[in-house]
């Protein structure tokens, strides 16, 4: 090893811009102390940011634009709730009593992983828009099943029952929920930074840039995309279970609908798919916009998403975070 090689080592490989992430997390950590009165906004924004980050592992890193992530989120939410309600899943599975939400979340994540494996295996052969179309279809079928079969509470949805305390903390305390949502975002950031320097991450970047070139180097594109999908699904389901605790009551129309999937995807895309923190920035921006225009647009708040995504496709294909970077410094070389 020559001196040149040794000195260049720390620069050649990078986890991405860790400092920016640290600053973002710092701001998020301080938020409850400054805006203690708007914790609801904080929790929902953090959750959306985490969903956008999770989505981006599939949508950005693997380049598979899913418009069906609400289904994965729903699996997390439904599993944690169903297992916590004494007379539902536990009875059906012959369990003695309700299952604590942290175990429920793990079960939900496992189910989401399983679904992603099957879903991906079936649809990754499809190119471009076809995958997107199939993702909408799969999510819609899942929604119809939940609405029509009575295991999921039908169209009325579910109520979260009393939950056991986690390390003595009341899970329905907004501050605790903020902590959970914060942990979720921090986890998605951590995973993305690790991905940036991992075998899977490099393979995904290679596949996205040049699929044939990647195959020549021994990379199986479908396997890599599957891995990304599973990772994305597991994180989304985890966020979904936290979301269920935060909502306490939810119905298929709020949790499993296409607009939620669209919202998650567009936050990531508007923020910037090819940057590590882009999805978080997108989520923050859209959440703030949504809050500012809430009285103007009321339930038509997706109007902002429409306008922004049009603006981004026309003027900033790399998303907003792409505007701050020079050419050639996307996920890859940016520090």
């Amino acid at each position: 090893m020559t001196a040149a090689a040794v000195t260049s080592r720390p620069r050649a490989l990078t986890y991405g811009n860790v400092w920016l992430s640290a600053v973002l997390l710092g701001v998020m950590a301080l938020y409850p102390f400054v805006f203690g009165k708007s914790l609801n906004f904080g929790v929902s924004t953090l959750l959306l940011a985490g969903f956008a980050m999770s989505w981006n592992i599939l949508g950005g890193w693997a380049g598979q634009l899913s418009l069906g992530h609400a289904a994965l989120l729903g699996i997390g939410a439904y599993t944690v709730t169903l297992f916590a309600i004494p007379e539902r899943a536990p009875a059906w599975l012959g369990l003695a009593g309700p299952v604590a939400p942290w175990w429920g979340a793990l079960i939900g994540m496992a189910l989401a992983a399983l679904l992603a494996l099957v879903w991906g295996r079936l649809t990754f052969g499809l190119r471009g828009s076809y995958f997107t179309l199939s993702s909408i279809a799969v999510a819609l079928i899942i929604r119809l099943v939940v609405i029509n079969e009575d295991f999921g509470g039908g169209a009325e949805g579910l109520f979260m029952p009393d939950l056991p305390k986690l390390f003595g903390l009341d899970l329905f305390d907004r501050h605790v929920e903020y902590g959970l949502a914060f942990t979720f975002v921090a986890l998605t950031l951590l995973v993305t930074h690790l991905l940036r320097r991992s075998r899977l991450g490099y393979a995904l970047q290679a596949v996205r840039e040049d699929e044939d070139g990647a195959r020549a180097l021994g990379i199986d594109p479908t396997r890599m995309k599957l891995a990304a999908f599973v990772l994305s699904a597991v994180l989304t389901a985890l966020g979904g279970s936290i979301y269920a605790i935060y909502l306490q009551a939810f119905e298929p129309h709020t949790l499993l609908e296409l607009p939620l999937s669209v919202q998650i995807a567009l936050m990531a895309i508007i923020g910037g798919r090819s940057s590590i923190q882009g999805p978080i920035l997108g989520a923050l921006l859209l959440a703030v916009f949504g809050e500012v225009f809430r009285n103007v647009f009321a339930n038509a708040n997706l109007l902002i998403y429409g306008v922004l995504i049009l603006a981004v496709t026309l003027f900033a294909p790399d998303g907003l975070s792409g505007l701050f970077k020079r050419r050639g410094s996307k996920l890859g070389t940016n520090r």
């Binding site: 260049s8 490989l13 290679a206 040049d210 070139g213 195959r215 050639g328």
Partner: protein
């Protein structure tokens, strides 16, 4: 590159390292490659020449798994790999470069090689492997540079570094030399020679006659998808059909 020598045991004389038997490729009704056979032993360089449109690249794609032959067989150490995907072939010890070099532009030079080094190693070992390969092709001082910023000569060397990181037994080089200036050509020729000496089997497509004639042990000349002539460089160069095929277009 110690791995290749390990494979050149005594069995090699019986089973060739790489073999193509009567490979044909048809697109629609068009026969792009007809009935080509070739054999490669460790340490051997096989040159593939022919005028533009002779089907060299198609044959290359068929041998490396990017195109499925319509008939014929492709064997690696006697194992039939005709229908194996390129990614599976890489695992078995086959590697190729592309005619138009295409580094992953968003990644640094080191990361480009790392993508390949991950095939057989993980973590720190993969990183060490990638550095070692960069040293070998003389790019280690560029490790941190974005691949997009490299000039043509360095891009070619990066392509070579990527395939070497796969630790192949058989290497397919698609025009690695054409387009380079003479000093860079000489460097590349030296590198390829070294690789062959270390025991790799190499199949190369090249346009520059004196380069390929100088490097190859055996030459196959194609025209219109068919075999025109084959043999040692001198025989092929003096073959009347070859001369005729090249007369019209010996600009390169």
């Amino acid at each position: 590159m110690t791995a290749p020598t390990a494979h050149s045991g005594s069995a090699q004389s019986a089973t060739p390292l790489f073999e193509a038997q009567n490979v044909s490729v048809t697109f629609g009704g068009l026969k792009a490659v007809q009935n080509i056979s070739l054999t490669l032993r460790p340490g051997e360089i096989l040159g593939l020449i022919g005028p533009n449109g002779a089907g060299k690249t198609t044959l290359f794609n068929a041998l490396t798994g990017f195109v499925t032959p319509s008939s014929g067989r492709v064997l690696l150490s006697g194992r039939d790999i005709t229908r194996l995907q390129p990614q599976a072939r890489a695992r078995l010890g086959m590697a190729r470069t592309f005619q138009v070099e295409r580094p992953f532009e968003d990644l640094s030079v080191l990361e480009n090689v790392l993508v390949a080094a991950f095939l057989h190693h993980s973590g720190k070992k993969a990183e060490d492997k990638a550095y070692a390969v960069l040293e070998r092709v003389g790019l280690s001082d560029r490790a941190a540079q974005p691949a997009a910023e490299l000039n043509l000569a360095r891009r070619r060397r990066l392509e070579l570094a990527k395939v070497l990181a796969l630790e192949p037994r058989v290497l397919f080089l698609d025009e690695s030399i054409a387009g380079l200036n003479p000093p860079a050509q000489a460097e590349m020729v030296g590198l390829i020679r070294e690789l062959a000496d270390s025991g790799l089997g190499i199949v190369m497509v090249e346009h520059i006659m004196h380069v390929i004639m100088g490097l190859s042990n055996h030459i196959i000349c194609m025209a219109f998808g068919e075999l025109l002539a084959e043999g040692d460089p001198l025989t092929v160069a003096n073959h009347p059909d070859v001369i005729r095929a090249y007369l019209g277009e010996d600009d390169d």
